[in-house]
């Protein structure tokens, strides 16, 4: 019991430090949904930075901004916008999509 306790504490401590080490200012970025397509289809964001992402839905139907490459799941109601926080992410390409219109609503985050 003693050992599991100290291991758990150690894990928590390392989690906490790794979380705060990369904490940086949130910057704002915007994606627009029109005709069930993302504009731009490739959005450039900085690496190792937490980003505030606004998704504007200009379509008359709801969409769900979602990704399997980074945690994101948010419904954007018709003719409105929603914000969510993404990252910090390592440099690379991260695919995202619109869950309700997958044939067209596809895009990529270019983290650099």
């Amino acid at each position: 019991m003693k050992y599991t306790g100290s291991i758990a504490f150690g894990v928590l401590l390392s989690l906490a430090t790794s979380g705060f080490a990369v904490a940086a200012e949130s910057q704002g970025y915007t994606l627009v949904l029109q005709d069930h397509r993302y504009q731009p289809t490739e959005l450039h964001i900085p690496a190792d930075t937490r980003v505030k992402l606004e998704v504007i839905n200009k379509d008359p139907s709801p969409e769900e901004f979602e990704s399997n490459d980074f945690p994101a799941e948010k419904i954007i109601m018709p003719k409105s916008s929603a914000t969510l926080f993404v990252g910090p992410l390592k440099a690379g390409r991260y695919h995202f999509y619109g869950d309700f219109h997958q044939p067209t609503a596809q895009g990529t985050l270019i983290v650099e």
């Binding site: 989690l15 906490a16 709801p62 419904i75 109601m77 409105s80 929603a82 910090p88 390592k90």
Partner: protein, 282 residues
């Protein structure tokens, strides 16, 4: 049509897996079919209400209403599963003894059953509201075969859920409630982890390490097995530290609570029963 069926299938499957585990965990309980059916019906009504108020919800809590709502629903389900698990720890042994003796149909305390009814309702509500919003958009866009897609998705999702239920029923009675209780605990821990994910997305809690590892190459979040593992055991290919913390805290609390309840039940048995009566009849 297949795009509609696929999305509906994925949402239904998530709810169906939760309902299956709950249905198995309440095996042999008097009138549990009524409770589970009632939970599903309540969930469907709730889903329509949530979808209907989605505009309001999106704007609430300065734009974080959706995340707060989802996390709230998930954590409420965690609490209720926790209640049931602790309750079962003090009554489970007696329940499986009665079932072994009489075959089935045990009259059990209804308080814990109401909790599980709520869990079923919340699961259906959460996944169902997405289906309603999706279909609403599809209808506005004039999509064909809406109802066919919906039916195919619901039937396919429910069938897979039923397959899990049928599989669980094959667990020998001696280990049955132990196994379903363990599944409920893992389910609850997974739901807590998902709640943390929503709260991180809204920047309400810190991530404590945004991406501790990436096991997508092994089991991707978007794949069907990945999704099933996500619901059943809280699997996430790229978990954040806070998710792990929520997961571990739920496991620890439920384990400690169950142990405490079992200790109390054990003490009561040795006090009240004469020697030789506490062994189950085989």
């Amino acid at each position: 049509m297949w795009a509609i069926a696929l999305l509906v299938f994925r949402e239904v499957l998530e709810a169906a897996l939760i309902v299956s585990v709950v249905a198995a965990a309440t095996r042999g309980v008097h009138q549990r079919g009524l409770f589970i059916g009632g939970g599903i019906a309540l969930g469907v009504v709730g889903a329509a209400l949530v979808a209907w108020s989605a505009d309001w919800l999106a704007a609430a809590v300065s734009g974080a209403g959706q995340e707060v709502f989802n996390a709230g629903v998930l954590l409420a389900a965690v609490l209720m599963i926790g209640w049931h698990v602790v309750w079962m720890s003090s009554h489970g042994r007696e329940l499986s003894r009665q079932m072994q003796a009489m075959g089935s149909a045990v009259k059990a305390g209804a308080s814990s059953l109401v909790m599980l009814l709520a869990v079923v309702a919340l699961a259906v509500l959460r996944e169902g509201s997405e289906i309603v919003l999706f279909l609403f958009g599809m209808r506005a866009g004039g999509a064909d075969h809406l109802w066919t897609g919906l039916s195919v998705g619901v039937i396919a999702g429910a069938t897979l859920g039923y397959a899990l239920y049928a599989g669980l029923l094959r667990i020998p009675l001696r280990h049955f409630f132990g196994a379903t209780n363990a599944m409920l605990v893992l389910l609850a821990a997974g739901l807590a982890s998902t709640a943390a994910r929503y709260l991180i997305q809204a920047d309400i809690v810190p991530a404590l390490g945004y991406r501790l590892w990436d096991s997508s190459w092994l089991l991707a979040n978007g794949s069907l097995p990945g999704q099933a593992a996500h619901v059943l055991v809280g699997y996430d290919a790229q978990p954040a530290g806070m998710q792990m913390l929520f997961f571990a805290a739920t496991l620890l609390l439920l384990w400690a609570g169950a142990r405490w309840a079992r200790g109390r039940a054990g003490a009561a048995v040795t006090r009240n029963e004469p020697v030789g009566m506490s062994q189950p009849a085989r």
